[in-house]
């Protein structure tokens, strides 16, 4: 039972929430409205005083631009590729770390280090490993017989693949730890019961583990989708969207439009479209997931 709010306390909630609300208003809400407003103008970074109101022209231009559509495709490949691979490797890691063995705590701790690494540092490490002349990944692939010659991965049309590899390395451990935690809260008796019923390891996994950790899977995946869609550090530093436009994803295109093409109005329109698309994607995702019978998962209850 909550304590009754008496006269003295009527303002306490506002005092407690106040600073947070203030920051959000100043740093998120206000810039957001400014950005929406800016997206209706044709403005150059170099000459902001020469901005012209153009209404929805920026949005129309962007939607008709093949480059935008290409970056949309790349973003989709980026998100789907990264999240599915991170999830798969993370799941394997979680299963492994769920076992009892000496030094488990240390291994688990070490596992989170990729997640704690800055995007720029990850880019540095992976650009070096993927180097076309001296990259260790080239060497390993050749030794494994998978390729015959060193390839300059980040200079090829599939450069996005190299960046995905880096992101999967950075993000899989996060999945591993989250899934591990969920797994550890599954009561052992359920596994016992399944075993008695004759279920093998894999069946136990399918019928006991998965359903019980489903909420965590859903939430973690959702978080990763959002985060990956907006994550531009790796692509920006490793390829800059290149070669040409081969690896350009939406946030990078938006940044380049603002700071290289200097068209800030158009860049903002792109970013707004991206946010809208992301929100739509999430609604669709949550609908699909809820339909599977998990019940309502409102953000607050989550």
């Amino acid at each position: 039972m909550l304590r009754h709010l008496n006269e003295k306390e009527r303002f306490t909630p506002f005092l407690l929430l106040g600073p947070a609300l203030l920051l959000m208003l100043l740093i998120v809400a206000y810039p957001l409205f400014q950005a929406l407003r800016l997206s209706l103008f044709d403005a150059s970074l170099l000459r902001p005083d020469r901005a012209r109101f153009v209404g929805l022209t920026n949005y129309l231009n962007v939607l008709r631009d093949p480059l935008f559509l290409r970056s949309l495709l790349n973003s989709t490949i980026w998100v789907v590729g990264c999240v599915t691979l991170q999830f798969t490797i993370g799941m394997l890691g979680a299963l492994l770390l769920n076992r009892e063995f000496p030094g488990r705590g240390l291994v688990r701790g070490l596992s989170l280090i990729p997640w704690a690494t800055s995007g720029v540092l990850v880019s540095l490490m992976w650009t070096w490993m993927l180097d076309g002349n001296y990259g260790v990944i080239n060497d390993i692939l050749v030794r494994l017989g998978l390729i015959s010659q060193y390839r300059p991965w980040l200079a090829l049309p599939i450069s996005l693949g190299g960046v995905i590899a880096a992101n999967v390395w950075q993000g899989a451990p996060f999945f591993a730890v989250m899934l591990l935690a969920a797994m550890q809260s599954v009561p052992q008796e359920l596994y016992e019961a399944a075993r008695i019923d004759g279920a093998g390891r894999f069946q136990q996994f399918r019928s006991v583990t998965i359903p019980l950790i489903m909420p965590t899977i859903v939430i973690t995946t959702m978080l990763r989708i959002v985060w990956t869609a907006n994550y531009m550090d790796l692509v920006f530093v490793m390829t800059g969207g290149g070669p040409g436009n081969a690896s350009i994803i939406l946030p990078v295109l938006s940044y380049i439009t603002a700071y290289k093409k200097l068209k800030v109005g158009e860049a903002t329109a792109m970013a707004v479209l991206q946010a809208i698309l992301l929100i739509i994607t999430l609604f669709v995702y949550l609908r699909l997931v809820n339909r599977k019978g998990e019940g309502g998962l409102s953000l607050y209850e989550v």
Binding site: R47, P48, R151, P152, L156, G244, N245
Partner: protein, 411 residues
């Protein structure tokens, strides 16, 4: 007690005096890029200037060339940014258009060093049709071709003088199995200069005499296609060529992976250090030997109109363009052609093969015109379209059309 309070007062006074002289120092922020960041010449020059001018303190910041234009714009449009900066003629048009460059002609009129500057180099800092000088010339280059003299001798090849000879030599010297390629084509950042060198040597132009943009003329499309074919059709360039910038191209040449490389006198000291006599220098091969051409570019110094300390800033950049400082900079590991006559007359420059070929190229060098869109093309459009063309996503015509549009419209 008495003694220590006297001592304290003295100390306080001294500190106060020091502080006030320190406060009297004018602080000038100067940005530059360095092809070789381990070279300390510029630092030494700045320290010397600060020593000779106790009332001015110059503080430098090094920004990589690939990001230079964007960072400069971001900083200045953010209300910050440097007072003076090393500058390329590529960016003159865009910055002038945005009223960001201070007209230096009043300062130059009172600068004794002005007479020493090679007269026709003043143009590189001027905008056609506009009175005033917006960039103080400092170091310039014309493009030429390095080649592995030892490889050519071994293969019994003559140094190429025409486009056809160039292609023939490149094909002969390409051996992918041994990671050897004929030409280090540069599709990455900054590659537009050597591309332009080949384009004009092939007979194309950016603008015609009347000032119309002709970079997408049929002739230009043809030459551009020849350049693209080096990578796509004849494969005489390394597979990483589309994204290779200076460091990768020079790294490949030095590691013995490419037979020829286009660059300028700024790297000649390093090349002779690494190769000795095994590296030779040639003018850029011409499609038509009767009409040679190459590309030239000026790296000068500018003062920004947003600066509060323009006088001190000009003092610094003009000092850099005076005899001693110019000589020291030009003789450094990254030194380029000096703009001063008194410096250029020295044996060091006239007796050096690399400088000689550069100077000869100066007779027929074409520069990027200071159009509003040149900076934009140099910092983004050229690289983006070149890579797409090299990857086969767009045609030569489409690439040049995009560049023409960008030159015309700017940012």
């Amino acid at each position: 007690m008495r003694k220590s309070s006297v001592a304290l007062t003295v100390v306080a006074l001294v500190l106060f005096l020091l502080a006030s002289t320190a406060a009297a120092k004018t602080r000038v922020t100067y940005w530059l890029w360095l092809d070789d960041p381990t070279d300390t010449t510029v630092q030494e020059l700045v320290e010397e200037f600060n020593r000779l001018h106790p009332d001015i303190e110059v503080v430098t910041e090094t920004i990589p060339l690939a990001n230079y234009y964007d960072q400069l714009l971001m900083a200045i449009s953010g209300g910050g940014g440097p007072d003076a900066a090393r500058f390329k003629d590529w960016w003159l048009g865009a910055f002038y258009d945005a009223d960001l460059l201070e007209d230096l002609s009043p300062y130059i009129a009172n600068w004794p060093g002005a007479d020493d500057v090679v007269p026709n180099l003043w143009n590189t800092g001027m905008i056609p049709g506009v009175d005033g000088i917006f960039m103080l010339p400092h170091q310039y280059i014309t493009f030429y071709l390095y080649y592995r003299a030892d490889w050519f001798a071994e293969a019994g090849l003559n140094p190429p003088r025409t486009f056809d000879e160039f292609l023939e030599a490149a094909l002969k010297l390409t051996d992918p199995a041994n990671n050897r390629y004929g030409f280090g084509l540069r599709g990455g950042a900054g590659g537009q200069d050597q591309w332009l060198a080949f384009m004009v040597a092939g007979g194309a132009r950016i603008v015609d005499e009347a000032g119309n943009i002709v970079i997408n003329s049929p002739k230009a499309v043809e030459v551009n296609q020849w350049y693209i074919d080096l990578y796509r059709k004849h494969q005489v360039a390394p597979p990483s060529a589309p994204t290779d910038a200076y460091a990768q191209v020079v790294g490949a040449f030095q590691a013995g992976n490419t037979a020829m490389m286009a660059h300028h006198v700024g790297s000649s000291v390093m090349m002779t250090d690494v190769f000795g006599d095994n590296v030779g220098v040639l003018p850029i091969p011409a499609a038509d030997p009767e009409n040679p051409a190459t590309m030239g570019t000026m790296s000068g110094n500018v003062v920004f109109s947003t600066s509060d300390v323009k006088d001190a800033a000009f003092k610094f950049i003009s000092w850099l363009s005076e005899h001693e400082a110019m000589d020291k900079w030009s003789k450094s590991r990254q030194g380029q052609l000096p703009v001063l006559q008194s410096v250029a007359e020295q044996d060091y420059y006239t007796q050096n093969e690399f400088f000689r070929v550069s100077l000869e190229g100066g007779n027929y060098a074409i520069v990027w015109p200071p159009l509003p869109g040149t900076g934009y093309v140099a910092s983004y459009v050229w690289q983006n379209t070149m890579q797409r063309a090299l990857l086969g996503e767009i045609t030569s015509q489409q690439m040049l059309d995009e560049i023409a549009k960008a030159l015309r419209e700017g940012n």
